[in-house]
Symmetry: D2
Subunit: 386 residues, 4 copies
Amino acid sequence: MLRYLNAGESHGKGLMAVLEGVPAGLPLTAEMINGDLARRQGGYGRGGRMRIEKDQIEFYCGVRKGKTLGNPLGLMIRNRDWDNWQDVMAAEPGPPSVERVVTRPRPGHADLVGAMKYGHRDIRNVLEKASARETAIRVAIGAVAKTLLAEFDVRVVSYTIRIGSVVAPRVDDYVEAFERAEHSQVRCADAVASEKMIEHIRSAKHKGDSLGGVFEVVVTNPPIGLGSYAQWDRRLSARLAMAAMSIQAMKGVEIGMGFESAQRFGSEVHDDIYPSEIQPGFERRTNNAGGLEGGITNGQPVILRVAMKPIATLYQPKNSVDIQTKEPFEATVERSDVCTVPAAGVVGEAVIAYEMANAMLEKFSGDCVDEMKRNFAAYQEYVKNF
Amino acid sequence: MLRYLNAGESHGKGLMAVLEGVPAGLPLTAEMINGDLARRQGGYGRGGRMRIEKDQIEFYCGVRKGKTLGNPLGLMIRNRDWDNWQDVMAAEPGPPSVERVVTRPRPGHADLVGAMKYGHRDIRNVLEKASARETAIRVAIGAVAKTLLAEFDVRVVSYTIRIGSVVAPRVDDYVEAFERAEHSQVRCADAVASEKMIEHIRSAKHKGDSLGGVFEVVVTNPPIGLGSYAQWDRRLSARLAMAAMSIQAMKGVEIGMGFESAQRFGSEVHDDIYPSEIQPGFERRTNNAGGLEGGITNGQPVILRVAMKPIATLYQPKNSVDIQTKEPFEATVERSDVCTVPAAGVVGEAVIAYEMANAMLEKFSGDCVDEMKRNFAAYQEYVKNF
Amino acid sequence: MLRYLNAGESHGKGLMAVLEGVPAGLPLTAEMINGDLARRQGGYGRGGRMRIEKDQIEFYCGVRKGKTLGNPLGLMIRNRDWDNWQDVMAAEPGPPSVERVVTRPRPGHADLVGAMKYGHRDIRNVLEKASARETAIRVAIGAVAKTLLAEFDVRVVSYTIRIGSVVAPRVDDYVEAFERAEHSQVRCADAVASEKMIEHIRSAKHKGDSLGGVFEVVVTNPPIGLGSYAQWDRRLSARLAMAAMSIQAMKGVEIGMGFESAQRFGSEVHDDIYPSEIQPGFERRTNNAGGLEGGITNGQPVILRVAMKPIATLYQPKNSVDIQTKEPFEATVERSDVCTVPAAGVVGEAVIAYEMANAMLEKFSGDCVDEMKRNFAAYQEYVKNF
Amino acid sequence: MLRYLNAGESHGKGLMAVLEGVPAGLPLTAEMINGDLARRQGGYGRGGRMRIEKDQIEFYCGVRKGKTLGNPLGLMIRNRDWDNWQDVMAAEPGPPSVERVVTRPRPGHADLVGAMKYGHRDIRNVLEKASARETAIRVAIGAVAKTLLAEFDVRVVSYTIRIGSVVAPRVDDYVEAFERAEHSQVRCADAVASEKMIEHIRSAKHKGDSLGGVFEVVVTNPPIGLGSYAQWDRRLSARLAMAAMSIQAMKGVEIGMGFESAQRFGSEVHDDIYPSEIQPGFERRTNNAGGLEGGITNGQPVILRVAMKPIATLYQPKNSVDIQTKEPFEATVERSDVCTVPAAGVVGEAVIAYEMANAMLEKFSGDCVDEMKRNFAAYQEYVKNF
C-alpha cells in the first residue's frame, strides 16, 4: 500500500514528500519526473512566477543506482527563489518581516478561513501552504506512480476539454488525443478549439479577469478488478473522486457519462456485454460507465472529467475586509496567472495515477516489482480463462 | 474520530454496522433513525421489494436508556424476508440452492467484474453485497451523525433537482425547499416539476426503461474551519466528494457552482467578503464556493449536487453473456425500481452528515457531548472576536 | 488488508464485530470458531459467570454455504443471560435501573478513569465495555484468522508458563507442548507444574485473592518476509506487541529471548546462520530472536511471552472512594474469577493470529484464497531458490 | 491527530521526515531538537561513527519565525559524511560500487530476511534502512512532541536501569533520577551502578562482545483520560507498547509492575483509591499500574521499561552464509558500538512522547496551541470537580 505525506511552503526552501510503499527494483530517474514537472509549469495563461521556478526533482533517498530500494522515497523540489525569501520565511525566531505581512484575505482563497482556523494574524502563514504551488510535489509523486503503472502497460493521460465558454469536440482515441494535446499550448487535442481557448484567455487577461475549465483524465489498459464494493471506502470510484477534488480549485468531478447519464434513459446508459471477438472472454463496445462498475475497474479505460473554477486572484478587484483594521478594501493580486487548466490536467494525471498504483498494489501486492509482476501475470492468465 | 464498518448481504439475515467514536451522552432513539430509514424507502418509482422491507433499526449495543455510552454502536437492520431466503443464503455448508444460482451478469452492475475479482461462479455472491440495499445501514449511520450535528444546530438536507430530462427551478431557501420536498413523491421542492418528474417516471416505466437524476445536499450552519489544506486527504471538499461518489450508481459530484464555474469568468465566481452587518466579523453575500474555500468550511452552507445514473436493471433487455455457458443472452430483471433518485438524496444526506460529524469531532473533539459542546462554544466565541 | 471493529456491552444483547478483508472462498464453519470460544471459557480458576455464557458464534453475514464471500463478515455472540438484563441495559429511554447503578470504582479497573473520561455518573457504563468479556469476540475474529493461516500451514498456539510464583519448565516442541496444555486445566504443558498451579490458585481463592501469570504464544511455520523495517509502524514485532498489550490486564510482552537478552552478551544472543542441510537455502539452529529480525519474520517460529496481572476483582477488599458520596469504602466484588491466565492464552492466540493473517495478506494479497495461495506458492518457490 | 513518515538511508544524503498535525503557534527552535539529537549520540560504549555524525536538525518547512504554522513539518538531518558515499549511494543509474556490495548477512540483523523480502542481491540495500541510524529522525520527531507536551507541563524522561548483568537500584523520584542520569555516561541515575556498567561495557569490548540492557521511560503529570477501552487499537497501553517495540533491537516492554505483577497476588498489585488529601478528587498512593488502567491514563506517571538486546555487530565472529556464493563465513563488523542502551533510552523518550502528544491531540484537539490549551484547561477544571 502506498502512503505519502508532503510538506512545504510556496516561498520556503522547497517542497518535500515521503512516499512509502513503492516496491523495490523499480527503475526511476529524475528525468522521468522532471518531464511532468515541466508539463505542470507550462501552458498558455501562466504569469511570471513559472519562469522562476523551473522545478527539478531531487531524490533525497529511497533510490539507488537508478532503482527504488523498497524504502520510503524522499522527494524534494527546491525553491529557486529562496534567496529572496529567506528572511521572510526564516524558521528561526525573529520579528515578522513587516512588509510581507498579509492581513487582507483574498476572496476565493483559503485566506480568511485558514487564518481563523489556525489563529494566524498574518495571512501569509495560510497562503504559503494552501497555494497550488503544493501540486508540484504531488506531480512528482504521481510521476513515480506512473512509472510503476507503466511496468504493467497502464497509462494515465489528460487533455483540456473546456476553457471558459470554449469546448473541445469529443475525443475518441484517448492516447492520440493526449499526444496531440501535448503539442497544444492549452493542452487541448483539437487545433481549432486550442486557438479559441488561447484567444479566450488573452481576452480575459486583457480584462483583468481569469478563467477555469474542464480536463479529462483517462487511465488506459487497467486490469479488471481494482477497487471493491465490499466497503464504502474501497470503491475506486470514490477514491478517484476524492483524489480529483483534493486538487486546489476543483469544484466538480464526474466519471464516464457523468452528469449526462442523469438525463438519459437507462437503456441509453448501461454498457452491453458481449463475447469477446478477439480473445477469450467478454467485451463491451461502449464505455459510458467510464471503466468502473460497482466501484471496480471493468478493464475499459477509466475516464474522469474534472471542473476547475477560475483562478481566484484577479487584477480586477474583489471586495474584502482587512482582518487587522476590519476595514473593507479591494483585494490585491498576489500572482498573475489567468488560467491554469492546462497545468491542472497534469496534476489530475498525477493524483489519479497515485490512486491507480495504490489499487494495483492492493490487488497484486509485492515487495519488489518482480513479485508484483509475477502476481499480476498469474491473475491476468486467470482472468483470460474465467 | 468516527469510524465504521458495515456488513450484510441483501437477502441475508440483515445489515449491520459498528460505528466507533460517537461521544457519550448523545440522546439517541430508534425513532430518530427509523424516520430516515422510511424516507429512504419512499419515493415514486420504487418497485415491489420496498414494501417487504419496512426497515427498522435495532441498537444491538452502545446505547443505554436512550443515550450513547461512548462505546461503539452496534446497529442492525433485519431482513424481514429472511424466512424465504434462509436456505439460499445459509451460512452453513451445503450444496448451492441451484434455482437461485446466478450466472448471467447484468450490464451496469458489478456482477461480472465482481465475479472475476473474487473468483465467484455464482454471481449471487456479488449482487448480494454490491447492491444498493447496503445504503440502508449507511442511512442509519448518517442518522446518528445528524443527531450529533443537531446538537450544534447543524442540519443536513436534500432534495431532488433533476430526474431525467426534467429539471427543477433553482432553490433559494434550502431548509424551506427541503420541507416542501418532504411532501413530494419525488422529493422535489417544486410542485410543478414534481408533477413532471412523476409523469416522466411513469412514462419510463411504461417503456420498461429507467431514469436517473440529480439531487442537492446542503449542510446548513456549519462552523467555520472544518477540514484543512494542510494535507491533501484532509480537504473536506475531497472527503465529501468521496462520500458522495461512494454511493451506488453515482457518477458525478460538484460543490457550489461546480461545473458551471468552469464556464464563467473569475469575477463572476468568487464570493466577495464584507464586514458583517448583523454581528462582529465577516460575511459573504453569495455562495458560489458552496461553503468551502481551500478545503475548509467558511461558515456558509455547504452545497453539493450529485448525479445518479439510471437504475441498471431494466425490463427492456440489455445484451450480456452467461459466465458458465459463455453464451450471449438478454439480461434479466432482478428488481423493478424505475427511479430511485428520491431515495438517493436521503442516502446523500447520510454520507455527508457522517463526514461533517467526523470533521466536527476532529476540530472539537470530546469524549462526551458536553465536552464537545464546551470546546465548540469557546471556539465560536473566539471566531466571533477574530 | 484486514480491519475490524467490535462492539457490545458485557450484559447487553451480545457482542458483535465486522471483520473486513477476508478473502473469498475460505471454508468457515461455526464449529471452527466455537472450539476457541469454549477454550476461552475454560480453565481452572474461573468463577460462576462462565457457566452461564456458553458462547456460540453466529455468522450474521459474509459466509454462505460454508465459505466466505469476500464480503465483510458479521460476527455475533449473544448474551444468554440477556433476559435478566434487558431492563438494566435497555437501549430505550427510561429511568436508570437504580439497584444496578454503580458509583463505586474498583481499583485496578477502568472504572474511575472511564467515568471521568466519558462523563459517566453510573460506572456501569464503563465496566460493561472495559471488561474482558469483550475478548470473546476477539477470539472469534482470531479463529477466522487462524482458519486463513491454516490454508498456509501456519499455526498459532499458546500455553501457560507461569501462574503466580509457579513456573513451568521450558518448552522445546511448541506444538507438542500446546497439545499437552490442551489437556491441562491451567493450559500448562507440564503435568507437575499444572498441579502446582492449580494448588496455587486454590490457595489464592481460599484467601480471597487472585493471581496472574505468563503465557507463551507461538506461530509455527511462518513464511520469511512478513513485516518490514521500511517504516516504524510496519515492523511486525511492534504490531504483535501492540496486539498482545491490547488485551485487558496484560502488563508486559517480550519476543524471543526478550528481557533475558538484556542480561546476556551479544555472542550468546544472536542466532547464527548456516547453509541448510535439508533443503536449498539457509537455516538457524537457535531462535533467540523469536522469529523476528528487523521487524520481519525469518521463517523460524515467532515466539511471544505475555504477562498478565492478577484479576483486579478480589473478595479481599481494596480501598476506594464512591464517586457520588465521595466517601471511602472497601471495593466490592463484581465477579469472582481467581485466575484467568489459561483463558488469556487463548485470547493471545487470537490477537496474534489476526496480526499474522493481516501480515500474510499484505505480502500475498489476493481477493480469493486461490489467488492468495497462488501468490504464496510462487513466492515460496522464489525463496527456496534465493 | 499526528502522523509522520520518515525516510533515509544511513549513508545517503540524510534522514528526513514529514510530521503532520502539529498545532499552529507552537514555539520551536532547532536548539530544542538538537539537544536530544546530541543526547542520542552520546553514552559510553559508542564506536567511531558517532563522532562523524554530530546530527543537526534542519527545518525544511512548517516552522516560521520560531513557531509552527499548523502546516506539516519537514525535518531533515544531513549525513555529514555524504561526500564519502555519494558514489556508492548515488540515486542516478550506474554500475554498482563493487567494493561496497554486501553479500554477507550478519546474524541478528535484517540483512538476510530483508534481502529475501525485497529481492536484493546487495545487502547494502537492506542495512542502509534497517539500521538504527533511522532513530535519529525519530528522536527529532519526539523532540517536537516533547515541546508540545511541555505546554501542558507533561514531561517524558528516561534512564538506564540495566546493562547486561548490572542492575541499578529502584528509582523513586523520576525527574530527579533523570537529571542525575543526564550526568552519567551510561544514563544511569545511580553513581555506583554507573561505574559498574561502564566497567561491564569496557570488559565486553575487550572480549569483542556487546551488551544490551533495560531503560525506563516515564511520563510525568499526564492528564487523566488519554486512550480508551472503546476499541482495542485505542488502548494507550497497546500503542505505547507498539511504539517501544518499534525501536530497533527492542525485545520486551512492560508497563508499571509489568512481568513482576504476574508473580504476585492481586492484593499486592492493584492500587487503592483514596480521597485526595491536597485537592478535591481522588488519589492513589502506589503506582503498580504504571499510570494506565483499562488502557487509559489515570493521572499517575506512565511508566514503561524496555529491554534491548545486545548490539548485533560483534568483533567476535558469528557464523553466516554468503548469499552469492552460498559459502559459510564468519560475520564481519560493519560498525563498532559495544552498547547503545544509553542512546536507546533517548529514542524511547521520543517514541513515547510522540504517542502521548498524539493522545493529547485526540482528547483535546485544537488547530493552534491556544485552542488546545483552552480545551485542556476546561477539561482539567471539569476533572477537578468530578
